[in-house]
């Protein structure tokens, strides 16, 4: 219950209001005795999931740790539980994590206008401990979302990246389905993903890693010397995949351009070649193969263009804002693009004009298209969460496009 929290609330706000309205003397509170401190509550509130919280949290904490933090937002509670799990190594299963977060949200979170505004228009895949999610891929045969988690620095060769398998209802089937912390698997800062046959391709800094789609086990690496920031992977014709190099590195100030911008095509036998190189590419990021070529959106120049296999670029309309990350093609030929610069998801309509689909999506990284539900799934990079929203009317007859 919430009775304890208002008592712990600072008098500051009330005092500021009272003071500024000039009614300080009107309350006549001053002749009453000052009340005592709030009651010392030491038991968690009853509720579903309480037992899970007690068994997981109370080995290192006592209940006061939770009780005194009443008033955090839902996002903060998820962050806190995930911090215990990822940063401090608490051994909690995916199922228990969801139950614990739900109990804390239900019983100890307070609504927050800022968070509520951010959630407007989207649904949040709640209670999953993503860590800097960069890319979502919808895998239709299994009806799951694969989410790549950088877990820390997008440039860090830190061996702690992982790929989650999430059911469409938001249940974490396996948070660390593929994990760089597992023996025999290397994964540093995984980004874009693509599926070709039974192989999952993952861009990981300067290497494209291959995994068995059934087991999640590693099946090979394709190092691309000269690349710096391999970012998105997309399916190409005849068992090939394309991979973009955004050409980024970092120094003390932030990202720097390494001028290694390129788009590579990797064949089914792992041979690869650059189909286009040079800073004229504008730091290519997201890609999707459509009939007639490869659509690329750029992180640096904010452009959208179609790229032929001989490297010829065909400009397409430029979205209202730049710093573009992901692109997907809907079944009817329209494109959906995510923009860090606009904190928005744009759709390129048939009349070649753009419309913002989600009004405000902070840090939208590489998006996915769930054609079964007509849903755009967006990883929010810095918020460590995944949201989705439904595309009305876009689902009719929608099938994944591709060569």
């Amino acid at each position: 219950m919430g009775a304890q929290s208002p008592a712990a609330r600072r008098p500051l706000v009330a005092a500021v209001l009272v003071g500024s309205l000039g009614i300080a003397g009107g309350c006549r509170e001053s002749d009453r005795p000052v009340s005592g401190p709030p009651p010392y509550v030491r038991e968690l509130k009853p509720g579903e999931g309480k037992l899970h919280v007690e068994s997981a949290c109370l080995s290192c904490h006592n209940a006061r740790t939770i009780i005194t933090l009443e008033g955090m937002t839902k996002d903060w509670w998820r962050f806190d539980v995930c911090k215990m799990r990822h940063t401090f190594g608490a051994e909690v299963s995916d199922v228990d994590t969801a139950k614990i977060i739900k109990y804390l949200e239900d019983n100890y979170s307070w609504p927050d206008p800022v968070e509520d505004r951010e959630r407007t228009g989207t649904d949040v895949i709640e209670r999953v401990c993503y860590q800097t999610p960069e890319s979502v891929l919808y895998h239709a045969p299994e009806d799951v979302y694969l989410v790549s988690n950088i877990n820390g620095s997008p440039l860090g060769v830190d061996g702690d990246g992982f790929i989650s398998k999430i059911a469409a209802d938001g249940t974490a089937l396996d948070l660390t389905w593929i994990s760089g912390e597992r023996e025999g698997t290397v994964l540093n800062a995984p980004k874009g993903m693509a599926i070709q046959g039974s192989t999952l391709y993952v861009a990981d800094l300067t290497v494209v890693r291959k995994f068995d789609l059934r087991t999640g086990g590693p099946t090979g690496n394709i190092p691309i010397p000269g690349s710096t920031f391999l970012n998105d992977v997309c399916e190409g014709p005849n068992g090939s995949v394309y991979v973009t190099d955004t050409g980024l590195s970092g120094n003390t100030e932030g990202f720097v351009n390494t001028r290694t911008d390129a788009v590579y095509r990797i064949e089914a036998d792992d041979r690869y070649r650059a189909i286009a190189t040079g800073t004229v590419l504008g730091q290519p990021n997201g890609c999707v193969a459509v009939p007639g070529g490869l659509v690329v959106v750029t992180f640096g120049s904010g452009e959208v263009y179609r790229l032929d296999d001989d490297g010829t670029r065909h400009p397409m309309p430029r979205p209202p804002r730049g710093v573009l990350d992901g692109v997907v093609a809907l079944g009817d030929g329209r494109l959906v693009i995510s923009s860090f610069g606009g904190q928005a998801i744009y759709i390129l309509r048939h009349d070649q004009t753009y419309e913002a689909l989600a009004p405000l999506v902070d840090n939208p990284a590489d998006i996915a298209w769930d054609q079964k539900r007509g849903r755009i799934v967006v990883p929010q990079f810095m918020k460590s969460r995944v949201v989705y929203f439904n595309l009305d009317g876009a689902t009719a007859g929608a099938t994944p496009t591709g060569p």
Partner: protein
């Protein structure tokens, strides 16, 4: 409403607790008077004094504001009332005779192991310094942050004695150009993956003339609660870096993996700047204290910064519309807080908010509002005047 019902309702035992809660929320605006002191119970800490208990596991106690300036050696806080903050649930004292400090890493020619006696053989230096948690005021802002909800008592000031870290690093031939020093604590948390508390600090901070490997506090042996037998003390840098029960130092080029709360960003040496921000606090009158209307009230407080020196302190009794300069006491050591006082005459009865604003000699001033900090740094190192204002009852 009967008092018994009220108490039962607060404990969640009443069947009508929800309705009661709503009634309480609705009725708060007029009555009863809100509790202005610490929301936490005052308890006697074993081996220390009476402090407000946030949590007992891990141990987290904040200093009552009235005890921030101690009586034994003011303006230092008495050791018994120095705030206590651990992240670990199960603490064990270390045997000082069996204690070893290892200095290792790629920036050291060969690993060195030192006993406490070895460290005490280095010339002892003493530095007064304010230790402060980065979560200051988290219990005063909404929404709550995922960190200890400290109010005003997670800062204290002590006289630290120990060996100069710079002298020891020079002695073992450590190369400062490696940029990062990782300090490791002996305390274990219950996890196989992350056995101990590790913290990376910038080498420039570690090799400053004031950084200590401290084994004394306020002239006595370092007590258990504050990291015996050896802890790091970096004046001008906030407390999370002052690693307690220090057993290992590593000289590195990059941030250590698995540093608590320090996630690599990929940019530069990756060690966040952790400087103490310019800060001030009203110590007297206390929150909720009654002062008479129409008579001058003496307001006394402290101010400190990252070691530049406090230039001025201003006080406002009208929510920041007007400010008056306070009279500054002598500036002790650079990292020790400076006392100030002023007085004002309240003209209306009721609640009044008094806030202070310190300005450092380098020009850094406390902001009025916390909101920009909350937006950009999540409230970490918040030093806004409004957050830490004091509320009096003028009668």
């Amino acid at each position: 409403m009967k008092r018994r019902d009220f108490v039962l309702g607060m404990l969640g035992l009443s069947g009508t607790s929800l309705a009661l809660t709503k009634w309480l929320l609705a009725s708060r605006r007029v009555t009863p008077a809100e509790w202005l002191g610490s929301p936490y119970p005052l308890v006697k800490v074993p081996g220390a004094g009476e402090m407000y208990q946030l949590w007992d596991r891990p141990p987290l106690y904040e200093t009552p504001v009235s005890k921030l300036v101690g009586t034994k050696n003011p303006p230092f806080t008495d050791t018994d009332h120095y705030y206590i903050r651990w992240r670990e649930a199960d603490l064990k004292p270390l045997d000082p005779d069996a204690f070893r400090l290892t200095i290792t890493g790629e920036g050291v020619p060969k690993p060195v192991t030192l006993t406490l006696a070895d460290i005490k053989n280095f010339p002892k230096i003493e530095r007064g310094a304010v230790g402060m948690c980065g979560a200051a005021g988290f219990g005063l802002i909404r929404p709550r942050r995922p960190a200890p909800p400290f109010t005003k008592g997670d800062l204290s000031c002590a006289l630290w004695g120990g060996a100069s870290l710079r002298a020891i690093l020079e002695d073992v031939g450590a190369r400062p150009e490696f940029g990062v020093l990782t300090a490791k604590s002996a305390v274990k948390i219950i996890s196989n993956k992350h056995p101990t508390y590790i913290r990376s600090v910038r080498m420039v901070d570690a090799t400053g003339a004031n950084t200590l490997l401290a084994y004394e506090m306020n002239g006595e042996a370092l007590p258990f609660w504050h990291g015996a037998p050896l802890r790091l003390v970096i004046p001008g840098v906030i407390g999370p870096n002052w690693v307690k029960q220090l057993v290992e130092l590593e000289v590195r080029r990059t941030l250590a993996p698995r540093s608590w709360y320090q996630k690599a960003t990929g940019f530069g040496p990756d060690v966040p700047k952790m400087g103490v921000k310019t800060f001030s606090l009203v110590l007297s009158p206390l929150d909720g204290e009654r002062v008479p209307v129409g008579a001058p009230v003496d307001v006394m407080g402290i101010a400190f910064d990252s070691g530049q020196g406090i230039d001025r302190v201003d006080v406002s009794a009208d929510n920041g519309w007007s400010w008056q300069g306070a009279e500054l006491g002598p500036q002790p050591d650079a990292y020790v807080w400076r006392k100030w006082k002023t007085s004002f005459t309240p003209t209306t009865a009721g609640r009044i908010n008094v806030m202070s604003r310190a300005t450092s000699t380098n020009g850094e001033t406390q902001p009025l509002d916390a909101w920009p900090n909350i937006q950009h740094e999540g409230g970490h190192r918040n030093n806004s005047s409004r957050t830490f204002a004091t509320t009096f009852e003028v009668v």
